[in-house]
Symmetry: C2
Subunit: 312 residues, 2 copies
């Protein structure tokens, strides 16, 4: 089948075409460039991108399921992109409870896809933008991007999303730990899940105190939820709407999307240069330079200069 036909079918909302295109994008298909050009050339709508991140065990996938339901209630077409390697959507032999998302398995207005997040220069910056374009082409009005924190992935998701939800759970010192980890800087909305457990109030208070120390135009709301019972779903959806309204009125939405396009172009250019290094010399030149750094006192900066001269 022609790639242009696949793109047409995705635009018509055909789930298998959507799935196939995302797989092609994720696997670095040789048609990636063509697919991207087709998706860009006539992009019908632009989705709201909502990132959802948090440590393992806080209930990311259950919360994603809850939000899908909330957005469906508002009659929006929803996409889910799970770039969380620990997500039950990701597949693989170790994974158990796909059950919850199967509530939506037969809903033609919900598209759920998982992506591997591995890759040298960050899988997210590389393939996720194209996967988002596929979901936008399929008419998704909201896309939830689920990824595991804390670390580089969390920074990536913040640059990818319009709104970033940071999910915490009471206990295990998550509140403070998360704050230490720079999560304060990236969260637009805090969700404290498992709010039927001891310590919820303490976690909320801790977060509130820390937020009070930071002067920012948008103060992230803190929403308690019990995701597996669907408690707090409407409140989270309202908080997301409020943040969207802020983004639009402040001009921040345009700014974020522009920054995202810049990052994407730059990442593609760097990846192209990187493969140019490898292709020109079949990796042998880099191997030889690495050996000289290890054994002959060559410093890596001079080695990098030699690599670039050779790839000129």
């Amino acid at each position: 089948m022609e790639v242009s036909d696949l793109v047409e079918m995705a635009r018509a909302g055909r789930p298998r075409a959507v799935a196939r295109l995302i797989s092609m994008v994720e696997n670095g298909s040789p048609r990636l460039r063509e697919i991207t050009a087709l998706l860009c050339a006539d992009r019908p709508r632009r989705a709201r991108i909502i990132g959802l991140t948090g440590s393992p065990g806080v209930g990311k996938s259950t919360s994603t399921g809850m939000l899908v339901q909330a957005f469906r209630k508002r009659d929006l077409r929803v996409g889910v992109l799970a770039v969380d390697p620990s997500s039950p959507f990701t597949g693989g032999a170790l994974l158990g409870d796909r059950v919850r998302m199967q509530d939506h398995a037969t809903d033609p207005d919900v598209f759920i896809r998982s992506m591997a997040s591995r890759g040298h220069l960050g899988g997210l910056s590389w393939a996720a933008p194209q996967a988002l374009r596929v979901l936008e082409a399929a008419g998704c009005e909201v896309v939830l991007v689920e990824t595991v924190g804390v670390g580089q992935a969390e920074v990536d998701i913040a640059s990818l999303a319009d709104t970033t939800i940071v999910l915490l759970a009471p206990g295990m010192g998550d509140g403070v730990q998360a704050a230490k980890a720079g999560i304060l800087e990236i969260a637009d909305v805090f969700v404290v899940n498992k709010a039927d457990r001891d310590g919820t109030q303490a976690t909320v208070r801790e977060l509130r105190n820390m937020l009070a120390l930071v002067e920012r135009p948008w103060r992230p709301p803190i929403v308690p939820t019990v995701a597996y019972r669907g408690e707090g779903a409407e409140e989270v959806a309202d908080a997301l709407d409020a943040h969207l309204a802020y983004l639009e009125s402040s001009g921040e939405l345009v700014r974020r999307r522009h920054a995202r396009a810049r990052d994407e172009i730059e990442a593609i250019a760097l990846a192209a240069l990187r493969s140019r290094f490898a292709h020109l010399h079949g990796d042998r030149r880099l191997d030889a330079l690495a050996t000289r750094v290890l054994d002959a006192g060559l410093d890596p900066y001079t080695a990098a200069d030699e690599l670039m001269e050779a790839s000129g």
Copy 2:
């Protein structure tokens, strides 16, 4: 003071010179290149690099402290590089208990430094190798690199370290969650900390079952610890020694270090190219391309081509 004097003082094991050089490296000092060349030109010894990673709350810093003590018992000079943004060594207003590591604050054979891990192309790949060279120059025979998991940071640390410890704690489904997150692939040694808590045996069993599914030349041992009481310290140190012996006898140590040198050279070359994009056009070209991607249906691959042509 001349940079060459600083490097000499670091070689003599003077802690303030070590601290100053690491700060310069971390802050991207204009002398970075010169410092690196000096460190490389006459590198006296090569340290064992041990990575330690795990989710927030599993007790990374306590475990690091415990291991410092174990290596000091073996009369080794030890460096600690905390690239974990949630580490109590990292500093900043929110951070509490630096207490434990202060046991070592007056020991001239222990060097402890924290580094920020942020940065677009991964702070670790950029500055950490130079910081490790500083600690090696200061005569450290072992360097513990502490970083938070799960995510990209964990992959980075695996490529940086000779041996990677993955730290878990019982409960909160950490065992399975961690395994899902691809931790199985990077762990050389598993430590189940807080082993005085309920669920330790379950976590160990879970890990063991998962490891049994994977066929690899090195099967990671699983060591229970109670780090705050120092329980299990010797067992972890023994497991690390066993892995080092494996690395040496299999040729894997040389292979890992060579791959690390390659990665470093490549990262430096890419960073240089990236700043060339920015400098040549004062970012205006990239801005204009981003706008065309957002508003005019330009695809990002074509935009990247234009960027590279312009930066030729």
